[in-house]
Symmetry: C4
């Protein structure tokens, strides 16, 4: 028989003699599903705002003498690069968050707390982005780079802890190969630890590697796909 994700088998055996009508069951389950929906909606909002606020960090060069604007715009390249790197990274983290939540059957208080911690990290990103853009060619690019790469590293850690919590709290769907995903998740902190090392040498490379990481993570992760549990 089909293991329908939303049905919690031990709690609601779909016995033919069950007196509970479909309407009643929907009504009973609705608040729980709605809770997850609102957590996702709130998270989507925070991701969307954080990713859009990044543009506010790029300041328009003031009016000057003829043909000065072109040079001024070219000189803004650290801002463009930092904008691109942070946009893609937040975008991929949103994607990651979104995929993670498709695997989660229901939210509980612990998950909501971890999610809040994760959003704290996402909300924080515009600051290190502006910091690294401002100091990319200055004497303190290493410090700025560490703050930048360290922020991503911390978020990757929170993602891992959150996923492991969800697996242990049994709030994920049964048909998921949780172990394989846990293994894949562990890659994030390692990659962003490497980014911290890269930042030690060059702020520019720190941003370029961030872009490359984001492109890599955006590639189709076949592991996330739901297995075809309809077979048989």
């Amino acid at each position: 028989m089909i293991a329908a994700p939303r049905d919690e088998a031990p709690e609601a055996p779909e016995a033919p003699e069950a007196p509970e009508t479909r309407e009643a069951r929907e009504a009973r389950e609705a608040p729980v599903q709605n809770e997850t929906a609102r957590v996702e909606a709130f998270s989507d909002g925070v991701f969307a705002i954080a990713i859009t606020l990044l543009i506010l960090e790029i300041r328009v060069p003031p009016t000057a003498q003829h043909d000065a604007l072109r040079l001024a715009l070219v000189n803004l390249w650290p801002s463009y690069l930092a904008f691109l790197a942070s946009f893609l990274t937040i975008g991929v983290m949103w994607l990651n968050h979104h995929r993670l939540f498709t695997l989660i059957r229901k939210s509980d208080d612990g998950l909501i707390a971890f999610n809040l911690l994760l959003l704290l990290g996402i909300t924080w990103i515009p600051f290190p982005t502006a910091l690294l853009a401002e100091h990319l060619r200055g004497p303190d690019q290493r410090t700025a780079g560490w703050v930048y790469a360290g922020s991503f590293f911390a978020i990757a850690i929170v993602f891992n802890v959150m996923w492991r919590y969800a697996v242990r709290a049994k709030t994920v769907f049964d048909y998921i190969n949780a172990a394989a995903i846990t293994k894949q998740y562990a890659l994030g902190p390692i990659m962003y630890a490497v980014l911290v090392i890269v930042a030690t040498f060059s702020g520019v490379w720190c941003l370029i590697v961030s872009v490359l990481y984001a492109v890599y993570f955006a590639l189709p992760p076949s592991l996330w796909r739901r297995k075809d549990h309809r077979a048989t």
Copy 2:
């Protein structure tokens, strides 16, 4: 029999001879449910934006001589602490708002008005946050702390009034132990009144206590849980 939350028993007795089809009933009820959904969606948006705007208050230190950035970043600790305290407090208030609305069966005009008042408070938070961060080490930290703690106190009051209104207007689900939740809600204003007193002595402790409050409120509140009304 199961008291299915969405069914308003006296209005829509599920009589077997009822000529009303499921489609018709859904169509009839849809706008009401949609109303609550849009109130929640709008509120989620305001919470998400207010919580994300907080980062705009942390200004990037300008480029200076070598190794000056590290010190400048350390000196920004009042901004980080205020950001953390307000982020967690708004986050917990969102959680609270979200839980409260899972208990509410339908929204009416009074509830929408109270909700607007609540959102006014949430939208206001970035200002006292920036105020306290700016004045945390200055001669006027007490004034800034009062504005900060007083804002949270006012929001806690609005939460209480709103909940009591919802209980009295009978817009909450029947199976809820409303009295117990009312009692628990009353804790908020008391705690934030204490925070106002703390702010009299120290702006820093005002922020630290705010963080502790938020962590406390984020802990699983077993009272909020729906009782298992399926038993029998």
Copy 3:
């Protein structure tokens, strides 16, 4: 028989011999309903952001000598009053928008275009708000007041035109007393025309009257309520 809102009677007579299954009909109607949902979601987002951006206009007074902050905070009252007036007005306009859309059966291109025009007005509000706050005690408060009141007047006009368009394009539900609502809607432009006159005399009164208007509009408008079309 019940005039179920979502069913377009002339198009889809629910004949017992109809070969169309419920699944098929839902699939067919889904995109249209989804269209309205996304228009509302997008509008909610714009309303929520515009209402939250208002706080950015209130600038934190810089650190100064002892006890100077209290006076500086008191002197910010024009900003608080403008914030309050615009918050409540946008809030009530959101409420209005929300109620209007519960009466709308489906969206068409004209409605979407009018909605975009309406959102243009909402997005614009933070500018006249900051303008009036800045000039409330200056020699040019009349000019600032006109821009402020004129903006609300223009939005009220757009609301009216949009509603009349929806009624004429027959995209509202049949059971609605459209004429009565049209009459009620006509009140908006008149009230905000009066506000323009008030602004001629005093910027402060322009803001106070805006607050009073918002409170008035937030009161339960029994006309909006769906008539109980279940009787018979």
Copy 4:
């Protein structure tokens, strides 16, 4: 028979003897549909924020001597015009995005990646908007105009590539006349290429033509309408 959009005929033949209940099928399909919903919700958020942030670029003129404000407000016309042009263009792009997604049956990783690229463009718009407003009457209006028109051109290209990808990946509904829409989509890049040429001659005309384009695109595109596949 009706080709119900959500049913993937070869996968789920609606055979009368099918042992799969409606509940089971809904549960199985829910995550996929939810994925599209969250992509749309996230996109809506980004569009809504980008369109609302535009107002932050219009700076309030400071208090000055009597009657100076009126002139100062008139002198802000480049900001108003740039605000209007970008608001309408983002609005129409949202509409376009929204229509495109009503044609898309399900999202896959490639589509999500293209969508992220598209949102990168939308998020970017506030910068060229402020840039052109600032330099509209300066010696470098041509440079600013190119950046402005070039940004729209790039977004139009991404829309095209994304649509062609969706058609090729067969993620669009079957009943759509994809070739006709592809042809219509190709108009966008051509029109915005013309805008780049217009920007070479005049920044003001670049903005006026942008407004005209937006109005043109907002007109009812009969091609987008779903054909009446209920006939027969």
